[in-house]
Every structure is written in C-alpha cells, then in structure tokens.
Amino acid sequence: MNLNPEAFVDIIPYLVTGLWYTLIITLVGVALGCVLGTIFGLMRLSKNGFIKAIASIYVEVLRGTPLLAQIFFFHFGIPNLLGFNLDALVSAIVVIAINSGAYIAEIVRGGVQSVDQGQIEAGRSLGLNSRQTMRYIIWPQALKIMIPPFGNQFIISLKDTSLLSSIAVAELMYQAQTYSSITFDAFEAYFMVCLFYLMITIPASLLLRYTERRLERS
C-alpha cells in the first residue's frame, strides 16, 4: 500500500480554487443555456417549418455529438479556421451553454407540450391572444413541469465540466490531474476530487427531490 495521508489535506486549496471555476462555469454556462434552451425549445414548437428545422438541427447536432468533441471543435477547430485564439475559460462557458442549451430546449419543448391542450382553448376562447395565453396560462404551468428535469440537467452539466480539463481550464478535475502528476499521489487526488463533486451533487439532488415532492403536492 502506498498511501500519503497528508496529500488528502494538501490538495484542498487547489480543489477549492477548482471548485470556484467549476461552479462559475456551470452557473454561467447553464444560465446562458437556459436562454438558448428557451429560444430553441419554443422555436421547435413553432408552426413555421423553417424555424422549427433550425431548432431541430441545433438540438440534434449537439445531442448527437460527444461533449469532448464539441469542446475541441470550439476551442481548437473554430479558432484555427478563423485565425484567432480563444481564452479557455470563455470556450468553457460557451461550450457548456451551447451543450446544456440543447438539452434544455428539449425540456422546454416537453414542458410546454405536456400542458393540456384544453388550457390553450380556454385562454383563447376568453379572447386572450396566443402570446397572452402563452405568458399567463401555458408558461407558468410548463415551468412547473420543467423544474425536475432542469435540476437534473444542472447536475449533469456540472459533472460535464470535468471534461474541460482537456483544454486546461482550471476547474476541479484539472486541479486534481495537475496535483497528481506533480506529486504522484493519484489515489489521494482523485479520491478527493470525487468528494468535492459529491459535495455539490448530493445537496443538489436532495434539494431537487424536495422540490419535486413539494410540486407534486401543490
């Protein structure tokens, strides 16, 4: 056995730094992903075939390719083609935004579609136009349906950020890798990094389950 107990403590400051990066990338990325997801999700519900097709292409391409390929394509591929350099942190946030946006678009579409058609008819028959019906009747009900899958997506995106270590973004996984390659305390480093992820994901999924239960009751 080759265990270095001190390494468990030694690595903590690096992981704390990494945690900030992970959290910022996830929060900003998923927030932007919400904007993209709402736009593309609603576009997918459009009656206009062209608008719908654009949104479908976005969703299918992003969901049909591995995140690692998207990271490399965006961070190395596009800058190489156009002849500029991208800051890794910017690439990281943009890729998480575009990637989570595709999944959130599906959540938005599903949420809106699962609101009973009769709700639209009730709104429209009162004289509300389609916008008002969406805003006051459909959207609030859809949001409620969307919260659990959205919470799931947040947790998935948070774990996805670990792949950003491949372009040297200073997030959690990158910190663990760097530490381990310098000290050779691989077990300690990767054990601790898992612990750090769990520190976020376990409370997040507890919160999610609590919210789900409350939603069910109301």
Partner: protein
C-alpha cells in the same frame, strides 16, 4: 345573432360538417343533440373559430369569422365557451381564474375586475371559494367557476359543450340551475347536451345532428314528440 351559411369542416380527408345552415336569434337557447361523432362539438367550436372553418360563413353579431382578416380575439370576447372538462387554470385561484381575462384583455383595474368577478362568483353560488384553488373543488363547483369565468367578459353569446357530461349525477343539477338562470336573463346560448330534460324545459329550439348534417331543427316538442325523421326517432329511442 349567429348566422351560419353552408358551413363545411374537414379534418384532412374526413369531412365532419357537410354544409350546415342556420340562424340563431338573440336571447335564443338552442340545444344541440345527436350521436357521438356526429360533429356537435366541431359545430360549436366553429362558432368561435376554435376550429378553422373549411368553407361557408359564420356571422357572429354581423362579423363573418370565417374571413381570415377578422380579428378573432375581438369576437371571442363576446362569445363565452364552457367545456366538458372545465379547463380551469390550475395555477390560479378561483378568483384569479375569473379576473384574468378582464385584467389582461379588457385592461380593467384590479378593483373593477375583482368586484365584478366576486359578483359573478356570487351568482354561481361560490363566493366563499374565491381564494381556493380549482383542485380543491368538486366537478360541479369547477364547472360553475368556468361559467363565471366565461361571463367575466360580458359575452353576448355562451357556448356550452356537454357541460354536465363529466359530472357525478348529483352535481348536474347545480350547473343546470345556473344555466337556466342565464337563459332566463336573456343570454343567447348554444348548448350541446345529453340532458333532454334541460332541452325540453329551457331550450327554445333543438338541433338534431347526425353525420355532420343538421337533420332536423325545431321546438323541443317538434323534435322530441312529433318528429317524422327515422334517424331522430332511433336516436331518441336509445337515449330516453
């Protein structure tokens, strides 16, 4: 008040309404009866263009709503609709269900909308439920809220699509009583219903539909007791 001329409605290749022509006067109560799938709901939904009209004319208070240029939202303010499954807004309280359209469409002040809506809830016997949510109401109460909600826009016409079909038998009476009051106040009403008692008592006219056609229209006595149409007879013998 409602003038329908050669109304046709198809879903794809399936022609559901095959040329309906009729006139409904102001303050008239018309009950629409007929077998399942005969096009009763579709006919009713063409009257506020919840279904696109394939061809023909539907003129509501002088406005042809089959014309795509008609501002349908404006017309719908004058045409209330009550659904079989109530379609109350579950995320809004009873009062908010009723005030929504006056606030957002008519831009009434909160005070105006509130006091008018409380009056309407009183009228349907549910003043005490104003702050409850629809999920805590019985079916009969839900349907009465739905009626109050439709009335919130002060419509000239009310459309009812089997308003009591989803209710437990003991709750039907309360809803029919509210509808009867409305009729007595002179509301123009078109009611798709299986409640033959209501049709006889409150209806000025009965439409019998079958296979997308208006087979017969007449007073309740004419249709229920003196019909010479075989299809009407066989339908009535099955349900009475």
């Amino acid at each position: 008040m409602i003038k329908v001329t050669d109304l046709h409605k198809s879903f794809g290749d399936n022609e559901v309404l095959t040329g309906i022509t009729t006139d409904i006067d102001a303050q008239e109560v018309v009950c629409v009866i007929g077998p399942s799938g005969s096009g009763k709901s579709t006919f009713l939904r063409c009257l506020n263009r919840l279904e696109d009209i394939t061809s023909g004319e539907v003129v509501i208070d002088g406005v042809n709503i089959a014309d795509p240029k008609t501002n349908i939202n404006k017309v719908r303010q004058d045409v209330g609709m009550v659904f079989q499954h109530f379609n109350l807004f579950p995320h809004k309280s009873v009062l908010e269900n009723v005030t929504l359209a006056p606030l957002k469409v008519k831009h009434e002040t909160k005070e105006e909308a509130r006091s008018h809506s409380l009056d309407l809830l009183g009228k349907v016997g549910l003043s005490d439920k104003a702050d409850d949510y629809p999920s805590s109401l019985s079916g009969g109460q839900k349907q009465r809220v739905a009626i109050a909600r439709s009335l919130s826009m002060n419509p000239k016409i009310m459309l009812f699509d089997e308003p009591t079909s989803a209710l437990d038998p003991e709750l039907v009476g309360d809803v029919l009583a509210v509808m009867k009051d409305l009729a007595n106040e002179g509301m123009t009403m078109v009611v798709v219903t299986h409640e033959m008692g209501f049709a006889k008592e409150v209806g000025d006219r009965v439409f019998f539909m079958d296979e997308g056609k208006m087979v017969e229209e007449g007073t309740p006595e004419q249709v229920f007791e003196q019909t010479s149409h075989e299809r009407t007879k066989s339908f009535l013998s099955k349900i009475l």
